[in-house]
Symmetry: C2
Subunit: 661 residues, 2 copies
């Protein structure tokens, strides 16, 4: 104990002999981060720099003027081709979903109302037309949707049905007499709520509604419904402004009610299901659940985008806070000594540097996710398991990326003190705008339940046919055999032990900086938690408990299991990406971040590891010491790491923080 405090000293001595501080090139790090979409990201960076004034205007303009300005910039950005990359080539796109996500997430360095409006118009609205519609819909709407001359919205969420889309209340009733659907809002809980583009700019909406034919319900389907002619709202449609929000006030969210609005039969986006003139329903997908799930599966792109947006917004906050901490001095050690830089304080390192490491980890986890997305979107016949695994990964990465943004931006704001509270220093908008990222495109807690369900069923059982959200229903229909096959503890330990030598003592022998140790720890925890939840569910159902009660009692374990899974995916991605690099100072530098990320992840849940015999008290304390040592090693590289994010200086603003002297 008495030698604890001298360890830094000892280590820096050892450093001089054994540890050589890497000298990574910022440009090389940026190139590695940008990956295969460097060109796309360069285009976005130039668009961001060009429209840098928007960040300032966001504070100065009134709500309506700001919304119009965001629309205008959206049109200018669209004209550069940046927002069409995911669209089919015949409509001027690049048919490259990866490029599309890269463009979107890079845009998160700038004004986030613009980002979200772009997401609504090109991702959700145009995306729904493209993915759920057939050729006629594409021809009719995609050109305008892509160049922005036809603004639209994605009218799914309802006041009373946010997370539970299968329970939507809006109806689309087929009327064979006129060959039309009648769109109706039966009650106020079924009004479309918080719909982006609705309050001011949208001409059209893709409306999700229960399809009724001759009093029979076929479940939720999507319809193209005109909202406005110019600025005039059409008869039967009522739109109200959602009003002022915490942030994102450059996006015109609205509420929509339909009062028996008639649209032609062809308004049904009929790629997966159709209704004939005679009112006969047909679908290429037999199971109603699977059909619903397939249509909802188009949401995956939105989740991937929002998660990436959260990760990149975090980079902006970290760039400002780390560079400020490397310039700002506070408190002298003595009268004859200069004040010390904030980033030289151990506590300040502990606040910021693990967040830098997590941001890198999430960046590469997102890169892996986008690769998988490209594989699935690029192939017509990706199997169901692969799609489900992708959706699960997207859900988990979205939840982690957006919670990470909330946490990181808050920590960075506080680390910049009172100056961090000034709007001109970026944190105000970053905080306010990203706050809803944890909610929209799927509430994070609900998404983690989706992840857990995939783990419990291996993505492949009949149970994944249930709607993706109803964990309670899932439990209610739980067949014990489905989950039990994963629960053998012996098998589980076998699986983990493959990763490491050392037999039962693998976790005591391995070095803390051995990636195999780090991965094995997270994998062990994940497998252990999956089997534990499965057993609890099973015994609850077997004891005849009410499904809701079983689920409620196990819910915290369910969420913890999903977290453990996603943390493992993130670590694997980070380790794999860095391991694949050619030897270089950049590789060594990123290796420090891998270790810092891995060990702080284990440290944060060290109680669990101790409770489950995978961490001794001594080893747990050693991890905390190792983290402090890693912070000291990362500290001289910190500014390089955040500069490598490649955020255009024009959009950072925060002049008083970044030029502090």
């Amino acid at each position: 104990m008495a030698t604890d405090v001298s360890q830094p000293e000892a280590e820096s001595t050892r450093s001089e002999s054994g540890y050589r501080q890497p000298q990574p090139s910022v440009a090389a790090l940026t190139e590695f981060l940008d990956g295969e979409y460097a060109e796309v990201r360069a285009l976005v960076r130039s668009n961001l720099a060009k429209h840098r004034e928007l960040l300032h205007e966001a504070e100065e303009l009134g709500v309506d003027a700001y919304r119009d300005r965001v629309r205008d910039v959206l049109l200018e950005v669209a004209a550069t081709g940046q927002t069409a990359l995911g669209m089919p080539k015949e409509y001027g796109g690049a048919a490259d979903v990866g490029a599309s996500v890269a463009a979107f997430e890079t845009m998160a360095f700038g004004d986030l109302s613009l980002l979200v409006k772009i997401g609504v118009q090109f991702g959700l609205f145009a995306g729904a037309i493209q993915q759920l519609g057939s050729r006629e819909h594409h021809d009719a709407y995609l050109p305008g949707a892509i160049d922005g001359s036809l603004l639209g919205c994605f009218a799914m969420t309802e006041r009373g049905h946010g997370s539970d889309v299968q329970a939507l209340g809006t109806t689309a009733t087929y009327d064979p007499a006129t060959d039309e659907f009648v769109i109706n809002t039966p009650d106020d809980n079924s009004r479309k709520d918080y719909i982006g583009n609705a309050a001011r700019h949208a001409q059209l909406a893709v409306v999700f509604a229960q399809l009724h034919i001759s009093d029979h319900s076929e479940g939720v389907h999507a319809f193209v419904v005109p909202l406005r002619d110019g600025e005039r709202v059409l008869p039967g449609v009522r739109i109200e402004d959602s009003g002022r929000k915490l942030g994102l006030n450059g996006v015109d969210n609205g509420q929509i009610w339909f009062d028996d609005v008639r649209v032609p039969r062809t308004a049904l986006l009929n790629r997966f299901a159709d209704v004939s003139t005679e009112g006969v329903y047909s679908s290429s997908i037999d199971s109603p659940n699977r059909r619903f799930f397939t249509m909802l599966g188009t949401l995956v792109l939105g989740r991937v985008s929002v998660g990436g947006g959260g990760i990149n917004a975090s980079k902006v906050a970290l760039n400002i806070a780390v560079r400020y901490a490397d310039r700002r001095r506070q408190f002298a050690a003595g009268d004859d000594q200069p004040e010390q830089l904030l980033l030289d304080y151990g506590q300040h390192q502990r606040r910021l540097l693990p967040l830098v490491a997590h941001t890198y980890a999430l960046h590469f986890a997102q890169e892996v996710l986008v690769e998988r997305l490209g594989e699935v979107f690029g192939s017509e016949d990706a199997d169901e398991d692969t799609r489900r695994a992708l959706e699960s990964r997207a859900a988990g990465t979205k939840a982690f990326g957006t919670w990470h943004a909330t946490r990181t931006i808050q920590e960075c704001r506080e680390a910049c003190g009172g100056a961090g509270y000034m709007a001109r220093n970026r944190f105000a908008a970053l905080k306010a705008d990203t706050d809803v990222f944890t909610t929209f495109e799927g509430d994070n807690t609900v998404l983690l339940q989706l992840v857990a369900k995939g783990l419990l069923t291996g993505y492949s059982s009949d149970f994944s046919d249930l709607d993706q959200l109803g964990m309670v229903r899932f439990v209610a229909e739980l067949a014990v055999e489905t989950v039990i096959e994963r629960t053998s503890v012996a098998k589980l330990l076998e699986r983990v032990k493959d990763l490491l030598p050392g037999g039962d003592e693998w976790d005591q022998e391995a070095g803390l900086l051995d990636p195999n140790f780090q991965q094995a720890m997270l994998r062990f925890r994940e497998e252990h938690m999956i089997s534990g939840v499965a057993r609890r569910l099973k015994s609850g159902v077997a004891d005849g408990m009410d499904a809701g009660e079983v689920f409620s009692a196990v819910q915290d374990h369910v969420i913890a299991t999903a977290r453990a899974h996603v943390e493992r995916l993130v670590l694997d991605a980070f380790i794999d990406k860095v391991a694949a690099m050619p030897d270089s100072d950049e590789k060594v530098a990123l290796g420090l971040l891998v270790d810092l990320h891995a060990l702080t992840t284990i440290e944060a849940d060290r109680a669990w590891f101790m409770e489950h015999g995978r961490l001794t008290v001594q080893r747990s304390k050693a991890i905390s010491r190792e983290i402090n040592s890693l912070c000291r090693k990362v500290r001289p590289l910190a500014v390089d790491f955040v500069d490598a994010f490649g955020i255009p200086e024009e959009v950072l603003r925060a002049e008083e923080l970044l030029s502090w002297q």
Copy 2:
């Protein structure tokens, strides 16, 4: 393990026999929470209800109009006497500092710009005149300051000297030729920054500056300096608007520069130190450090107020989120079953109910703090130790209360989903406005260092004479003997064992719901950490390490120690308050919250307790199960608990959440 899931069942059965659910009266709980200041709080509630429109106007008005409106409401509120309670009786006050804090913190149920403007005018500005000035200053300024006809500001913080007040750059140089002080801003880092009331409304400022007499510096003193004549800024004074902030935009923060502004010798607030016409400096306090500290000690009231504001803002968020969760249904367990209330989900209980318990705990910790404050303010000769202990308690409670607000409001926003993002549902302003509470009136991290320093020196050594912020300087001058006397582990264990029977096994034998166990756990951790930090500092200094380096290496332990101390104070306060209640259903109900608060506090740091041999794996898991059981017991009382906060329905707004059906 297989029986885990049936435990809730087993417990609810046991409940039917052994556990009787208390039926507390909301009115009785409110009466208990309001304590001795029920009348004052009633006045504030009526003022809040009367000015409820301000919450709406905050969203609709432009910045200047909003600021003026806040000023107007401030004057109306002042006319009711609410804001003068802490002022001397001869100026129309009640000389009751406790009443003054109670009024202020209750005001946090409403618009927080109004709260902060009230704090600036009556707490900081009028408070500085009262506490640092003499009779002449009181006569000249207090009547106008109290009725609001004389608005002023508290010009302490500078751009380059936020937390380190002893290093302020503004100078006040005595000129014996004219019997005047010359106030000057030597460089841009010494401009007064973020000064409330400065940009628009203040006529006067209390300016903190380095007093120079004949090239000799006497340290920081406070001076009354006119800023404006009506709306015209006076010659030599330059004021710029700080610009738009994340929140609190109803407060006109500004930056101030002084260019050789001359004020009469009597402008020095001379209660503790004076300068004669001949330029001879005199003070009733010999030590310059102690003198500085005494003057700064007046900040304690601001910290107590801000902490209370954070705690009460949390109550607003919890009232909305808990009541919404008790009305909103989501996901049915089966087609024939109704959707389940959000608050019946285990995860939702885990999200919200511990926060309710922590809020009650902090409320009572604040009540104890205010009692101590009253004792010290009420006696001219409270000894130094008592004052230091009060300042430490105020610093810790401020840090905890404001971090709690940030965390609680965020969690409640997310728990209300998309609706929580709408400004009309209160969370937007709550989040944005309270965010800076963790920074102003002392950065929370710096405050925790102050707390730790008090612990290490027992408040009484010479080292507490150092400025309250410079931990590094403290370490640099560390005398090993000062801290060593507290580090005997044997003594420490003795002290803890007094609390519990059972010898060395006390922590294994005691019931989890035994308050002696809960208190002993927190006390053991605190004492252990204090001795650990002391030893680390000692060995670092003894090894000849640079003081800054020692401090940096130990800083995370220093902060953790302060946290452990404050958590213990909070738990002690909560337990003592509830223990002192007469037997009643309210006492039983609050007992559940005590247990929930205590066990979630221990659970959150269960890794530490395991690492230090005070928690076995089995017992750690038992605590988590007990918490889930407590959540189920608290759940039926949750709405009563948040209604008991007594927040006027008029200021809750959030109609769509609170009337959900």
